[in-house]
């Protein structure tokens, strides 16, 4: 009998260490990504000054010009369009699902949102090419239809599930008493939503928007397929340009490992990595601030 108990406790200790090991392993992944990708990327600055790299929009690797301002502008531009178009629609959908829809309709809408997230990004890009780009070409008279607008439109659809699910969760987590108190004071449902529920849900909605930004700025395939892939600064919404992600995909395969050109592409992915880490930390700070209240 005592022996059996000791076996059980040995097992208990062993599995405990095993689980700790798993957690440590998962935590180390991000560090090794930073280390390996960072090391490769920083090698760029042996041949290019950081000032030129970040502030020049001249990208001519053949002539030794490595300025990534165009790509940064492209990434920010597409993300901005996506948020401006997608966030209000997604938020409206979340309010509808959380506060207006009858529960039967809600249980139908939830899988619909998840399906948005389940469709592969190449399929979004494909629809972007065969539909959005063509419509843009016809309606704006642009030569190709590729550009920030096409990419922004595709991304606006792709961020919907992020915006909807996080905002809706936040709205549903609010105490019922908020709604009841407001209604009891004679407010209409819309006044309650607009003046009480949405302000109370603000931290959660901001989290949703920030995570949607992270998704949009890191999205690669769908953007690459509709952005036009030319390293020209975007002077209009409907001229071909590039983003950080799309240019990495386009050029990574054609550059020898260890060349400055190749290193510069890695440095662009370091920039992406740092942006997404900054966004996560922003979300964290927001949550902590919310808790401190």
């Amino acid at each position: 009998m005592p022996r059996k108990t000791s076996w059980a406790s040995v097992n208990d200790q062993l599995t405990r260490y095993l689980f700790i090991g798993c957690a440590v392993l998962v935590s180390l992944v991000i560090l090794s990504i930073l280390w390996f990708v960072g090391q490769q990327g920083l090698a760029t600055f042996r041949h290019v000054t950081p000032l030129e790299f970040f502030t020049s929009s001249r990208w001519n690797p053949d002539r030794g010009q490595y300025g990534i301002l165009t790509f940064i502008a492209g990434s920010i531009g597409t993300t901005f369009i996506a948020i401006v178009l997608g966030a209000p629609l997604g938020l409206a959908g979340a309010v509808f699902m959380g506060k207006i829809a009858p529960s039967s309709l809600r249980s139908l809408l939830r899988p619909v949102t998840e399906l948005f997230a389940g469709i592969p990004s190449v399929v979004y890009g494909y629809v972007g090419i065969v539909v959005f780009v063509k419509i843009i070409r016809k309606t704006t008279g642009s030569a190709t239809g590729f550009g920030l607008l096409a990419a922004g439109l595709v991304l606006a659809v792709m961020i919907l599930p992020t915006i909807i699910s996080i905002s809706e969760d936040t709205l549903r987590a609010l105490p019922d008493s908020y709604e009841e108190a407001s209604m009891a004071l004679g407010a209409t449902r819309w006044q309650t939503i607009w003046r009480v529920l949405l302000p109370a849900a603000k931290p959660g909605i901001l989290t949703a928007v920030i995570l949607a930004m992270a998704r949009a700025i890191g999205e690669t395939m769908a953007v690459q397929m509709v952005i036009g892939n030319s390293p020209l600064f975007p002077h209009s919404l409907v001229t071909p340009t590039s983003t950080l992600t799309s240019d990495i995909v386009m050029e990574m395969g054609n550059t020898p490992y260890g060349s400055t050109w190749n290193d510069a592409l890695f440095m662009m992915s370091v920039v992406l990595l740092l942006i997404s880490l900054a966004l996560i930390i922003l979300v964290r700070l927001g949550i902590q601030k919310g808790e401190a209240k």
């Binding site: 599995t15 405990r16 991000i30 990504i33 959908g93 809408l109 389940g118 395969g253 880490l277």
Partner: protein, 280 residues
Amino acid sequence: MKAKQTNALATLLLWLAALAIVGILAWFLIFILGRGLPVLGPQFFTGPNGVGGQFFNSFYILFLSLVFSLPVGVGAGIYLAEYAPKNRLTDVMRLSTESLATVPSIVLGLFGMIIFVNVFKLGFTILGGAATLALLNLPVLVRVTEESLRNVPASYREASLALGATMWQTLRKVILPTALPGLVTGTTLVAGRALGETAILIFTAGMSVSRHLFDLRLTAPGETLAVHLYAVQANPLPGTHAGRVANGTAALLVLVALAFNLLLALPSRWLQHRLSGKRG
């Protein structure tokens, strides 16, 4: 009176927004399936330019990536839900898991390329693709596990521990079985997402497919369906009916996504509902 009119107008707009969201999805599905379904048939898989190899690779790489990521992800999730004290160290663990979840997939792809193609000199392989894809699954699996375990009522744990069971016995016999439906649903959604992933695989599993159908070698190149759609769209080779192949592949990808979301995720959600119903 004005407040009531605003209320009516706002309600109408919210209904329209919801309709627009459902409408966009419905139009997407009808559009893709309408163009692609007529192309699908046995010929589409085994004929010239058939995608049988890519279809097989998609599932093979998904399977391997789950083999790599499930044990570690679930283990880490168990630790964070059941064992982890609330301190600096576990805070850092959570932060790094969340950060990993937001790393753009192209960056994961480049990381995998450095490790498998440049350091280990394997070239573009199924192994490299699956191992890198596992990194995409990991943080989501950790979160899904942690959430499912947290949904198990504390009284279950207390009862089991009070009967003299060790933590491991409690986990194995009480907590994990109760949390299983949630874990299955979560894993299904992870798998559905991994099946459509492209950016990670272009630079790790490559854009070519083995000459032999059902090639199980880990070192074979492993173009998947999603990568194939990108490839035929980017370089439509003459004489390969690239347009038809693209339409069919897109439809196939959507069908697979539908299957994972509806056929697999819904029953386990229903099971979850039933089990949690019995609980109360």
